[in-house]
């Protein structure tokens, strides 16, 4: 078994990296892959709460790197699935407690035992980002259809190419189709044209994401939710399957503008 290392990053904070990492991991594990996710956000860990595993942490990533425990001791098994594990980040340390070569060594050790290693990168372009992409075989960039998130995504895509980890693939998260229809949100095509990268997923804005995170039950466990289905589709595309993109947008033509004016606020 030789795992593929997938790093999820974004540049800007708050676009949904951790939610994306957790849900792709769950979707892959539900499909009977052996998956481990690593929280790369040392000092601001959250992958544990999003996965609902926060009460089971004993050791963390920094304990492994500094030799206070064996790798296996820091791996928390998610009991809901056959083979899903989490290596949590340390909460009371900072990004400099781990180096890019530590991450490469750690992933090399894990590769033999897993199908997928998912790394949740912290926001920013500094040490934490460098750590997260160092072992990556493929990098997914998460963005929202908003000016600041798209700009930062462009910057991070450039850095990924400079590190020869490209081409990055793009996830457009929190697309609001009602706003797109009334011309108040960039379309997925707009974002793709601006960033000129390959798309791997469009995730609609979905309240179920917050509800499921409240419960510590990733939304990908609920294939009926629209966001959950979008994350499941991303996991299939990661495996190399061709899955059509969900149709979330319509062209803003004359009639939709007219409808909008006649029924303001309506969708």
């Amino acid at each position: 078994m030789t795992a593929t290392v997938v790093t999820v990053t974004s540049g800007k904070g708050g676009v949904g990296k951790t939610t994306t990492t957790a849900n792709i991991a769950v979707a892959l594990a539900v499909d009977n892959s052996k998956v481990v996710c690593i929280d790369g956000d040392i000092g601001l860990r959250n992958l544990d709460v999003v996965l609902g595993l926060e009460n089971r942490i004993v050791y963390d990533l920094v304990d492994v790197v500094e030799g206070r425990c064996r790798l296996r001791q820091a791996m928390i098994r998610d009991k809901r699935m056959q083979e899903l594990f989490l290596i949590p980040a340390a909460q009371t340390r900072d990004k400099s407690s781990v180096s890019p070569s530590d991450m490469v060594r750690l992933c090399d050790e894990l590769r033999q035992e897993f199908d997928w290693i998912l790394i949740d990168s912290p926001a920013g372009i500094e040490r934490g980002f460098r750590n997260a992409i160092a072992p990556a075989d493929t990098v997914l960039v998460v963005t929202n259809p908003e000016v600041s998130a798209v700009r930062d995504a462009d910057r991070i895509i450039g850095l990924i190419e400079a590190e020869e980890k490209g081409p990055a693939r793009l996830i457009i998260n929190r697309l609001k189709s009602t706003m797109v229809k009334r011309g108040d949100m960039l379309t997925a095509d707009d974002v793709l044209e601006l960033l000129a990268v390959e798309l791997i997923g469009i995730v609609p804005d979905d309240e179920n994401v917050i509800v499921s995170t409240n419960r510590g039950q990733p939304v990908a466990l609920d294939p009926k939710s629209r966001a959950g289905q979008a994350f499941i589709n991303i996991s299939h595309r990661l495996r190399g399957e061709k899955v059509p993109f969900l149709n979330l947008e319509e062209k803003d033509g004359f009639f939709s503008r007219l409808t909008k004016i006649l029924h303001p606020g309506g969708a």
């Binding site: 462009d154 190419e161 009334r182 949100m185 960039l186 503008r257």
Partner: protein
């Protein structure tokens, strides 16, 4: 009232269109590390150098940044003045 008609006819840019146009310019600046002011002085210097060798009309010159995939390209379209008619020469 005018805004109303404009909206139906699609003449007023939507906020999404504004976002896209603004981002286009911002990304060019970010990717090339070149400010609009620097691009302007680059254009002026290119025109000065070319004018030393051939006669050109500065008002017909078009030098701009274009995007091809993730590559930025500086494209200069500089028509050359000639006594009989004019020949357009493209410098990529």
């Amino acid at each position: 009232m005018a805004g109303w008609v404009d909206r139906i006819m699609g003449r007023t840019p939507t906020s999404a269109n504004q976002a896209k146009e603004r981002l286009k310019l911002v990304l060019i600046n970010d990717r090339t590390d070149l400010s609009p002011q620097a691009l302007e002085s680059l254009k002026n210097e290119i025109m000065q150098v070319i004018s030393r060798y051939i006669e050109i009309d500065p008002t017909t010159v078009n030098i701009s940044m274009t995007q091809e995939g993730r590559e930025q390209r500086l494209v200069a379209d500089i028509p050359i003045k000639q006594s009989k008619g004019s020949v357009r020469r493209r410098v990529g």
